[in-house]
């Protein structure tokens, strides 16, 4: 599903990361500041590594050797950012529909489906500033889903949520995983998140791949 091989010095860390995985649901796991988010943003096309290649689902997205760097807007990847990043000047409904502009409507997953799937019915007319942390995160997930992505990139989707909201959003994400056939790349430093959502795990530390293992082995090693 994903092949990634990049060398990169974003700010103060030094990344040299290389892995390939056939898994449909892959997690990058590691402590804060190990470069996970930078890698996710590179896959999304929002940051450009110094050198290397990124291939996703058979499509080459970045290859410094041939000067290829597909624009983020044309990668068709739904990103759920750590900080939500809802548009403050648009109501929830318009936030959800933002990524559908200029794209053919999906018969498989429309606004009604996503609203139902994520429990957003009562939020549609609200302004983002009035949402709780968990609500905002669900809207951000819905917005990414509705942009008709080929894959979903989740950057610490539960970080900063209090316990109740966290388990609620996690349940929604799990439901998503089971009901929608969408590949996901998860970035997280929380083992329970990884165990709940991923099939395979790449362990990162200090800008290097330490191990790559199945989620069962990941869980077993933890206990």
């Amino acid at each position: 599903m994903i092949e990634l091989d990049v060398r990169w010095k974003p700010r103060d860390f030094d990344l040299a990361v290389s892995f390939a995985s056939p898994a449909k649901h892959l997690a990058l796991f590691g402590p804060s500041g190990c470069g996970k988010t930078s890698l996710l943003l590179a896959v999304a096309g929002l940051r450009r590594p110094d050198a290397g290649r990124i291939r996703l689902g058979g499509e080459l997205l970045f290859d410094s050797a041939v000067g290829l760097n597909v624009a983020a807007a044309r990668r068709g990847l739904g990103v759920v950012f750590q900080d939500g990043r809802l548009f403050p000047h648009l109501r929830v409904r318009d936030n959800l529909l933002y990524g559908q502009y200029g794209k053919a409507a999906s018969p498989a997953l429309g606004l009604a489906d996503v609203v139902e799937l994520l429990g957003l019915t009562d939020l549609l007319a609200r302004w983002p500033t009035t949402l709780s942390g968990g609500e905002a995160r669900r809207v951000a997930i819905g917005r990414a889903l509705l942009s008709r992505p080929r894959a979903l990139l989740l950057d610490e989707p539960l970080v900063g949520l209090h316990r109740e909201a966290r388990s609620q959003v996690l349940a929604y994400l799990r439901r998503l995983r089971d009901e929608i056939a969408l590949p996901t790349l998860l970035v997280s430093h929380q083992p329970d998140e990884v165990e709940a959502l991923a099939e395979e795990v790449v362990l990162l530390d200090d800008g290097r791949v330490r191990r790559q293992l199945g989620v069962a082995e990941f869980a077993a090693r933890r206990n």
């Binding site: 929002l46 739904g78 403050p88 502009y101």
Partner: protein, 229 residues
């Protein structure tokens, strides 16, 4: 009530100020965006040049306009065969007002763009929005108050413009005699006190309205606040 000549002067000032903003706005948006988002060689030189009309004596700016756009000016001589003439024509007053108010417009527009959270633009990009759509649907709406405040300030500046205008296009009644120039003419005219009083009141009202509006707009918008959470 204003006399016909006074009303004409007011109308010319309004026309000149409004047109100068309309013409300047697309350029100010483009330049404001470039200054806010891009790093390029000569940027600080460009910024300094841009502010020149703010720091130069307006008469000097007017003289420079005459040298450039006058009938025999560097650019004016080239435009004349095309039937385009700025000197001693009301369109020259628009040009003078535009040049004098442009720095205020760009400063305000740029501050608005600086205040937009770049992460929201990145989010829009990840949702498939190209550069134009990002600008129109995220950057501009989130900086709209600053852009409008800039327009109001620039309008007030253009409405009151005197020095550059009189040096460039003179004081032709019904053509280039703006409100400010009419006031100046009345100052030099014995028995002009009554008209002077009326025009000064008009100028005061327009000025006060503009600065109230600008102050209202300059209050932080709820959207911009949320973007910085």
């Amino acid at each position: 009530m204003l006399t016909a000549a006074e009303a004409t002067a007011l109308a010319i000032s309004l026309k000149v100020a409004l047109l100068s903003i309309l013409v300047a706005l697309p350029f100010a948006l483009a330049l404001g965006l470039a200054l806010s988002r891009l790093r390029f060689p000569g940027k600080s030189v460009l910024e300094a040049l841009l502010n020149l009309p703010l720091v130069l004596p307006p008469v000097v700016t007017g003289y420079a306009l005459l040298q450039l756009f006058g009938r025999h000016g560097t650019i004016g001589a080239w435009l004349a065969p095309l039937g385009l003439q700025f000197a001693f024509h009301w369109s020259g007053a628009v040009l003078a007002a535009l040049v004098m108010s442009f720095p205020l417009l760009v400063i305000s527009v740029r501050a608005g763009f600086d205040g937009v959270d770049r992460r929201l633009e990145a989010a829009a990009e990840s949702l498939g929005a190209g550069a134009w759509r990002r600008f129109a649907s995220v950057t501009l709406p989130l900086s709209l108050r600053s852009v409008l405040a800039g327009c109001v300030l620039a309008f007030a500046r253009a409405f009151g413009e005197f020095g550059a205008t009189i040096s460039f296009v003179g004081s032709i009644p019904g053509e280039t005699r703006t409100l400010s120039i009419a006031i100046w003419e009345l100052l030099n005219q014995p028995g002009g006190e009554a008209g002077l009083g009326r025009l000064v009141w008009v100028a005061l009202l327009v000025g006060i309205a503009a600065s109230l509006l600008a102050a209202l707009l300059a209050r932080r918008s709820p959207g911009a606040e949320a973007a910085h959470d």
